[in-house]
Amino acid sequence: MSDYLDELEAEAIYILREVAGQFDRPALLFSGGKDSICLVHLALKAFRPGKFPFPLVHIDTGHNFQEALDFRDRLVAETGEHLIVRKVEDTIAKNRLQDARGKFPSRNALQTNTLLETIEEFEFDACIGGARRDEEKARAKERVFSVRDEFGQWDPKLQRPELWSIYNGKIHKGENVRVFPISNWTELDVWNYIQRENIQLPEIYFTHERECVLTENGQLMANNAFLNLDESDVSVTRKVRYRTVGDMTCTAAVESEAFTVEDIIAEIRNAKISERGATRMDDRISEAAMEDRKKGGYF
């Protein structure tokens, strides 16, 4: 095989088709970020002219970038695929949960509740996600087919051996499998693929002027209605873009002049800060933050 992107693409399509072949009620978890947009592109290649054998599922934190929501709706309209949206707000109301607090109230933990409820509601037996092993150390150890128990928990010590490209998706009722078709891609691979395939993305991935506040660790957060700011916070207007698109309360922007995918690739090649390090406040809390969240059912 000539090019490594062909090889990564072939692997991802193979995995998507294995999901279609092995599960009764799969779903594709669609966050609106570039990784899940790539998954949709790969699914088109895997299943067209047929329809996707799964719905797109968006777990909506309520703290979205409007640009990402608009993009999501356009993508759904263009592909004609089925979209299911479940809101964290509804989970909070229904279960009388305490909403996130603090200056940057992250609904990351609450999002796991909604995800698990949604899995139960639709009896999903497989959830496809866009996580990559290069994002974080705990992810580096996760299988492509990652079995979760009834509580959505990942047990890193009891992972099934996963050999060659043979994927064992057999589970008991109530369990489900998280499937990561682009496990072996790096951030740069994703961008190279976006460039090669001319995949459209929400505007916020490219440089734009935005009013931000500077956090204590020097990160730039878009000034928005979900933050609980006080007088000490100073607003600054900067040319920024996003490297990941998540919750507006915990996804930071990076200063950038990158207008095009080519610019972004050049920027990443030179970048000295890793993707999660640059933009996620949630992983900084402890070294094992991601491992703990995954054990608890997070993606």
Partner: protein, 414 residues
């Protein structure tokens, strides 16, 4: 740019984590925030070194606490010339199955040897796993050369010991590199300490090594993963067989045989990447269309009629037992080869393979975690296969316990 997948193996403390850390660090593949975190961690674990390179690869908390690698961790880096995927595998005997997992997708094995200790039982075990899995190339990295005064003599001694053993177990292509991962000698940069060594430093070696299998098995093999049937008005008769080409190539007009049924047809069209193409080759995801409307489903194999694989209800295989619970003759098993699945039973255990000498040992009918054995497996439905030595995708399989759903063994067809 192409892709090289390799795995690393060695005894605990041979310096595997340090070596990988060094490779990533000196090739500038690590970002500053990760280095910051590591510096913090190195301090909190009381290491004297400014930064403990091993912490780069030991990901899970339990591993950090116990200071050992218990599962495969995947690492990625690239240079101008190649993208690399490293499967960092644990060395202990009790994690042989994890090593199998990491090694199964590798094109190259890096086996680490401590220059002071030379070849150990573990080295032999890792080499045997590489041999069983048919890894195209093995690189023996003789590390900690600083602790043997960078001695050429010591290096040559280990090389000749290893060559002797490699011959015994049938490893064909082996290369050797001396290094000091701790000091960075000969990892990314050549070193004056090892001026007698005329070969490439490790990274340059990895960038240029050719891992293509030379035996040239080229028969066309395809397996159906999923049948695409839109059943819309416009595409009423559309019926496409989706899957990756496992080996060889297919063209429109080719005469094909569907297995296990043995029915024949012709390829009427091939789609790849949403376009119609005239031909497609190994590793390409495609949708095949046939001239005739046949009953074909997931797991069926499609091949050129001119070169059929073996189709049989029994297979002779070498397996590695991977379940904590030992083999129970009464347990119901499934065999899965790519997308093909059928009920299976281990009918005979001929012998166990001694993982340190590669000798056949008499079987007592038991199969325990991490043991290798030669077996005969009986299947409910016929499988179409090529022997593993020739073709990985059609020659490899896993066994699944129907009761627990666990993957209990990995096997290669002999």
């Amino acid at each position: 740019m192409d892709l090289l997948r390799f795995f690393t193996a060695g005894n605990v403390d041979d310096g595997k984590s340090t070596l990988i850390g060094r490779l990533l660090y000196d090739s500038e593949s690590i970002s500053t925030d990760v280095i910051e975190t590591l510096t913090r961690q190195s301090k909190s674990t009381g290491e004297n070194a400014a930064i403990d390179l091993a912490l780069l690869t030991d990901g899970l908390r339990a591993e950090r606490e116990q200071g050992i690698t218990i599962d495969v961790a995947y690492k990625y880096f690239s240079t101008q010339n190649r993208k690399f995927i490293i499967a960092d595998t644990p060395g202990h005997t009790q994690y042989t199955r994890n090593m199998f997992t990491g090694a199964s997708t590798a094109q190259l094995a890096i086996i680490l040897v401590d220059a002071r200790n030379g070849i150990t039982d573990q080295t032999k075990r890792h080499s045997i796993i590489s041999a069983v899995l048919g890894i195209p190339k093995v690189l023996v990295c003789i590390n900690k050369m600083d602790l043997v005064s960078y001695s050429e003599e010591r290096f040559n001694e280990i090389v000749s010991d290893y060559r002797f053993f490699a011959k015994l177990i049938g490893l064909k292509t082996v290369d050797f590199i001396p290094a000091s991962a701790l000091n960075g000698d000969n990892v990314v940069h050549a070193s004056s300490n090892l001026s007698w060594y005329k070969g490439l430093p490790l990274l340059s070696y990895l960038e240029t090594v050719d891992v293509n299998r030379t035996d040239g098995f080229n028969e066309a093999r395809f397996q159906v993963q999923y049948v695409i049937r839109p059943q819309t008005e416009a595409l009423h008769d559309y019926r496409g067989y989706a899957g990756n080409i496992l080996s060889g190539s297919f063209q429109t007009g080719d005469e094909v045989t569907i297995l296990p049924s043995g029915l024949t047809s012709k390829i009427s069209a091939i789609e790849s990447g949403l376009k119609e193409v005239a031909s497609a080759r190994k590793n390409q995801p495609v949708v095949l269309h046939l001239k005739d409307d046949l009953d074909i489903s997931r797991g069926n194999t499609i091949v050129l009629s001119s070169a059929l694989p073996v189709t049989d209800k029994t297979v002779e295989a070498t397996i590695c037992w991977m379940d904590n619970q030992e083999f129970q003759p009464g347990h119901k098993l499934l065999l899965q080869q790519s997308s093909f699945r059928t009920k299976a039973a281990i009918r005979e255990i001929y012998s166990k393979i001694d993982i340190h000498s590669f000798q056949d040992l008499e079987s007592n009918g038991e199969l325990k975690l991490n043991e290798l054995a030669k077996v005969r497996i009986q299947l409910a439905e016929a499988i179409s296969y090529d022997v593993f030595e020739k073709q990985i995708q059609t020659g490899a399989f896993i066994l699944i316990n129907e009761n627990t759903n666990n993957t209990v063994a990995a096997g290669v067809i002999r």
